[in-house]
């Protein structure tokens, strides 16, 4: 097992955002987390990347317990995140942003950085055209590409993506998902958080459904895609027949 969360509880002040989440990600997989707004998806990713401390529970990565390892040390271990809302450095150019992605790579690892620039430019030719443009002046879609590219510059073993399709035009969404598939094919394990559940489920191998800080379903992604209750709650497929929509449909696990 590459990455494992065991009974993770996370609080914001007194509010318990994660109420005992257990998740595993295996080498080479694409795993997706889906769930309504406020379910705790972003919090889960932040807990994995270390910007949010856990109250209890453990995070294990490549066999090491990294629960109390500070966020900046986890990048060196091979965890890299493209954060929600992109988190581009607005005062840095595209090149400088990508360079920041390779920040944790030092010494002999630096040798491969130029090759990784090329790899990112191949995945996102648009970024190559805008090398010296300030991050803050890129369009939303370009910023999303930059966020993913920047996360790749760390050469992660596990790539954490938080809603990479947010706010993008439909055409760009399928393009981004195509690129995620490509990244996966090149050997990177991916944990994907998405609102766009249909696309995410058709891309992923396995999926977890989060609801108010708990995992309420975990299953093969394709089986969830065909599941009536999940469709009703997250895919908008059977809203007409479901009536109440919302949380009613997603009980079983």
């Amino acid at each position: 097992m590459l990455l494992e969360l065991k009974d993770v509880h996370v609080h914001y002040g007194k509010v318990e955002a994660l109420k005992g989440i257990s998740i595993t990600v295996d080498e080479g997989e694409i795993v997706t987390l889906i769930g309504a707004n406020g379910a705790g998806k972003t919090t889960t990713l932040k807990t994995i990347s270390g910007v949010r401390p856990v109250t209890s529970g453990s995070v294990t990565f490549r066999g090491d317990n990294i629960t109390s390892l500070p966020g900046h040390r986890r990048v060196e271990r091979g965890l890299s995140q493209a954060p929600e809302g992109r988190g581009i450095f607005p005062g840095m150019t595209v090149v400088e942003n990508l360079e920041m992605g390779a920040y944790a790579r030092r010494g002999s690892q630096r040798k491969e950085v130029p090759a990784d620039f090329e790899r990112v430019y191949q995945l996102f030719p648009r970024l190559a055209e805008r090398r010296s443009q300030m991050g803050g002046t890129l369009s939303g879609g370009e910023q999303q590409m930059l966020a993913i590219g920047r996360a790749l510059m760390a050469r992660p073993q596990v790539l954490l993506l938080d809603e990479p399709s947010m706010g993008l035009a439909p055409k760009l969404v399928s393009q981004i998902f195509q690129i995620i598939r490509e990244i996966s094919a090149q050997g990177t394990t991916i944990l994907l958080v998405e609102q766009n559940a249909v696309q995410a489920l058709s891309l992923a191998h396995r999926a977890y459904v989060l609801e108010s800080g708990l995992v309420v379903r975990s299953a093969d992604a394709h089986s969830l895609l065909d599941d009536e209750s999940v469709r009703a709650a997250y895919l908008g497929g059977a809203v007409g027949s479901g009536g109440s929509g919302g949380s009613g449909g997603s009980g079983g696990s």
């Binding site: 270390g50 966020g71 900046h72 990048v75 988190g87 005062g91 840095m92 300030m134």
Partner: protein
Amino acid sequence: MSPLAKLRGAMARARRAMPDIVGPVGRRWERLSQWQRRPFYVLALAIAVLAPANSVGRIMAPASDWKTILFNPIGVYILLALGLNVVVGLAGLLDLGYVAFFAVGAYTMATLATHRHWSFWLVLPIGIILAAFAGVILGAPTLRLRGDYLAIVTLGFGEIVRRIAINTNSLGGPRGISGIPHPPSIGHVKALTYGVLDPKPYYYLLLAMIVLVIFVGRRLERSRVGRSWQAVREDEDVAELMGVPSFKFKLWAFAIGASIGGMCGVIFASKQIAITPDNFPFLLSVLILAAVVLGGSGNIPGVILGAFLVAWLPEYLRDASFGKFVVRQVHHVLPRAGSFSDLRVLIFGGALVVMMIFRPEGLLPSRKRRAELAEGQGGMGSLGGTVVVPPPEESK
């Protein structure tokens, strides 16, 4: 439409109507290579070296002693602003108690040189180290705070240091320390003979330190440290995601900024003969911060310009007919408003508000800073974060 929206619209229109004089020059400057810039640096240094000349003084300060002003406040403010710029401009941390480090340096010089008779050149590094240490003491417990909270704690720290000075007998209490010796003279050159009367040697000492700080500052800014600061300033969480140990770098910024403040304090005390806690008021922290923000936080030429204006303008206007006119007008409305130096705070307050409306990035901003502000980011607590960026076009 709400009055607030109207005001924002008016602000946006006013800002668009402002001709951008500095922008094109700045862009051209940024295109110059290191080598092409060198003549400008030499020219700037030449101006600084020739600045104490009497002929310059007749223009810049017709009614007061130009050389004295050139050392303090002008030189002192510039060095302090360069130090604070590391904290505010580079790392994006709002520090409202910066004067504390200036005080630590000055008191180090005053005690060690007066009581122990240590030479200035020995005290200088000690003062720098002690101030850096004070920066770490302040930073270690507080740098986990962000924005406004950090600002409040640092404000408190500045006041604590002053109170300690007032209440410690060995530091002279409220009367401070007097009889501080001057630096030993170097050779028999007049410009390097440190006495009571001539401020020029002290100015050159300060100038040398300013040049040193600029040189080191530029190096730092372009290094991995500088990039780490920029990342932390623009988005601390994301910086951490990239692998930047943000706490460590914030602490470094505090220590380096503090050491420059301490350096300035040692030099200040060595000329001063006597220092008292009153030399280190909260107002000084505010004025230095105003200089940094006014000039263009994060951009060294901007910060120098800002500090120069904040230091020089009040001195100049106090005697100029324009200044007298302003004071008379204010006295019509507020008969007990005081002299011009009392009013300068009011005037700076007004100037800062106007600046924040028309040019939140400062007089000479860096390109990076502009891009950050356009995003409403770039640290400095709420100073940078909540600058109102009006919508590009208001709806009718």
